[in-house]
């Protein structure tokens, strides 16, 4: 029963995603609502993501220092930290934070709307609830998560610069040159592309869980919770897939 339930859930999410693609690109567009969702998802998450990125960069630098100093490779700290932030830590941590913050809020919002039958009322009043609620949110997460990831990378690298300067002296230009000497397009571009998929997964799973929540106040909490859990898991799966695909393309 467990397996068939899991497959049924997966099928339902796939159909939900298919509906998003079939309805999302047809007029009429809910531009105002989309911009508002972008504001909520992107701008409102920035402080949280920024703090996370800052701490991530600094901690990575300080943690790497003793080991690198043992090898006499302190000059490699910027490059190493930059590679790990840009390739992996930035995208994955930002996506997880956003899954926690945005996925849960979407799941709870749509779940409570579903429970209070606002969605049905919307349908009656002539507004397409799928377009108005789901498409705007999924598009907003898909487009805003990459921006958040880039900002988190930049903040994390700046924190790494501060971390390097806590135990030694490095000028900003040397720091940037150290990083740029090691960085390739193959480090940046795949990491950037996979963040779109992270955002899409967060949005679509949060919306699905909220849109199809069980009736009752319990259902709201459950949908919010499972939205976070499933999207976090999916993010890791996508990360694994991304690493395999970039490896196949010879970009690793």
């Amino acid at each position: 029963m467990q397996a068939s339930e899991f497959l049924a859930e997966a099928g339902a999410i796939s159909r939900f995603a298919g509906r998003f693609f079939s309805e999302g690109f047809r007029p009429r567009y809910e531009v105002q609502e989309f911009l508002y969702q972008c504001y909520v998802v992107g701008y409102k998450s920035l402080p949280l993501v920024g703090v996370t990125g800052f701490i991530m960069g600094m901690v990575l630098t300080l943690q790497a220092r003793p080991t690198m100093a043992k090898f006499g490779a302190e000059a490699w700290i910027p490059a190493m930290v930059a590679l790990s932030i840009i390739r992996e830590m930035g995208p994955i941590i930002t996506a997880l934070i956003c899954a926690g913050k945005i996925g849960s809020s979407i799941g709870a919002e749509l779940g409570s709307m579903n429970v209070t039958e606002q969605i049905d009322a919307m349908e009656v009043s002539g507004t397409n609830p799928f377009k108005y609620l789901v498409v705007t949110r999924v598009l907003a997460t898909t487009l805003m998560i990459p921006v958040l990831v880039i900002l988190a990378d930049v903040i994390g690298l700046y924190a790494s610069y501060l971390g390097v300067n806590m135990k030694g002296v490095t000028s900003l230009s040397l720091f940037v040159n150290n990083i740029m000497n090691r960085l390739e397009f193959s480090d940046v571009v795949p990491a950037f592309i996979k963040t779109f998929f992270f955002g899409f997964a967060i949005g679509i799973i949060g919306c699905y869980k909220g849109y199809h929540s069980q009736k009752g106040t319990e259902g709201v909490g459950q949908s919010a919770n499972s939205a976070v859990v499933v999207s976090s898991l999916v993010i890791f799966v996508i990360d694994l897939l991304a690493v395999q695909i970039t490896g196949l393309l010879g970009l690793n």
Binding site: L35, Y39, Y43, L148, I150, M180, F185
Partner: protein, 333 residues
């Protein structure tokens, strides 16, 4: 819906633009590193092996990154052609005779192409030029050489050990080292050598002075070398000598003709020398003369014993004896 104001949109716009600006900045920096923007210059070099060089690896000139590897093509079974694109601003500094070689960035780092300048002058490279290539140093070959060196070192150190042990055991060597006389004599020798060299130095100084004087026309040699009138006289002398030798030449030729005539038997002397009949007659005559004188001798003997002349001969003998006595007396005195 008080939240959905224009201020929110401004914040959103700022947020998105900041993120995009950071991304574009990053991509631009990377692109500039890989020579995607800006004017480039393409050159190539042929290698036997490229040691794992990849497209996009750095090209360095004098240790500075000036471009990237664009293409690596296999041209033949022993040739790999590496095409590189360099930044246009380094074109005046890379000459046509520069040498491309493949190296690594540190011991374990990326493979890079190094362009090294040659001391000879040459015009700068142009698009599509082919640089000469120096084959990369292979670690394998290096290790092989090292192995041989190690083996040699083992032999050398063993010999050294033997030598040192022999030295340690030989008493003569240590005596020689410990002997103070040896050091004293060595010191004296060195002093002598020093003195000799000083004298040699002085001598060479003199020689130099002489040479300088000669060059300036002072002294006998200088006079010889520099005086023009002397040279004129010399020339005259030489001319005279040559005239003299010409005369001598004619004289010898005359003599020559005379001897030839004599040999041919012409003239009285020739007859004398050459005619055999004459010679035999001369011999006969000589024999006759001999007989004649012998007979004359007999006649004279007979005359001495003749009574008419006996007295004269006796007186002659006495006079002779007296003269001899006087001589003997003078000698004793």
């Amino acid at each position: 819906m008080s939240q959905r104001t224009a201020a929110n949109n401004v914040r959103l716009g700022a947020f998105v633009l900041t993120g995009l600006a950071c991304l574009i900045m990053l991509l631009f920096l990377l692109g500039r590193k890989q020579n995607m923007f800006g004017d480039t210059l393409e050159i190539q070099a042929d290698f036997r092996t490229v040691n794992g060089l990849l497209t996009g690896n750095n090209v360095r000139f004098a240790g500075i990154m000036v471009g990237t590897v664009e293409h690596i093509d296999i041209v033949g079974d022993t040739t790999v052609r590496v095409r590189m694109s360099l930044r246009r601003e380094v074109q005046p500094f890379i000459k046509k005779n520069a040498i491309a070689s493949i190296g690594t960035d540190g011991l374990m780092g990326n493979t890079v192409v190094n362009i090294t300048a040659e001391p000879e002058p040459a015009p700068p490279v142009t698009d599509g030029d082919q640089l000469r290539a120096r084959q990369p140093v292979r670690i394998e070959a290096m290790l092989n050489t090292l192995q041989r060196t190690n083996r040699n070192l083992v032999g050398i150190t063993e010999d050294m050990k033997e030598v040192t042990s022999k030295l340690n055991n030989s008493s003569a060597m240590w005596e020689l080292i410990g002997d103070k006389k040896v050091t004293n004599s060595l010191r004296r020798t060195v002093q002598n050598i020093e003195g000799t060299t000083t004298r040699l130095d002085a001598a060479s100084h003199d020689v130099r002075n002489m040479a300088r004087d000669a060059r300036r026309g002072r002294g006998v040699v200088g006079y010889l070398f520099t005086d023009t009138s002397f040279a004129g006289q010399m020339q005259q002398t030489m001319r005279r000598t040559s005239r003299l030798s010409a005369t001598a030449d004619t004289m010898t030729s005359t003599l020559n003709s005379i001897t030839r005539k004599v040999q041919a038997g012409q003239g009285p002397l020739g007859t004398l020398l050459v005619d055999t009949a004459m010679a035999s007659r001369l011999e006969q005559s000589m024999g006759n003369v001999e007989q004649g004188t012998a007979r004359f001798n007999e006649s004279m003997e007979a005359l001495q014993h003749n009574f008419l002349l006996k007295g004269y001969f006796k007186r002659q003998q006495k006079k002779k004896a007296r003269a001899e006595q006087q001589e003997a007396l003078q000698e004793t005195k």
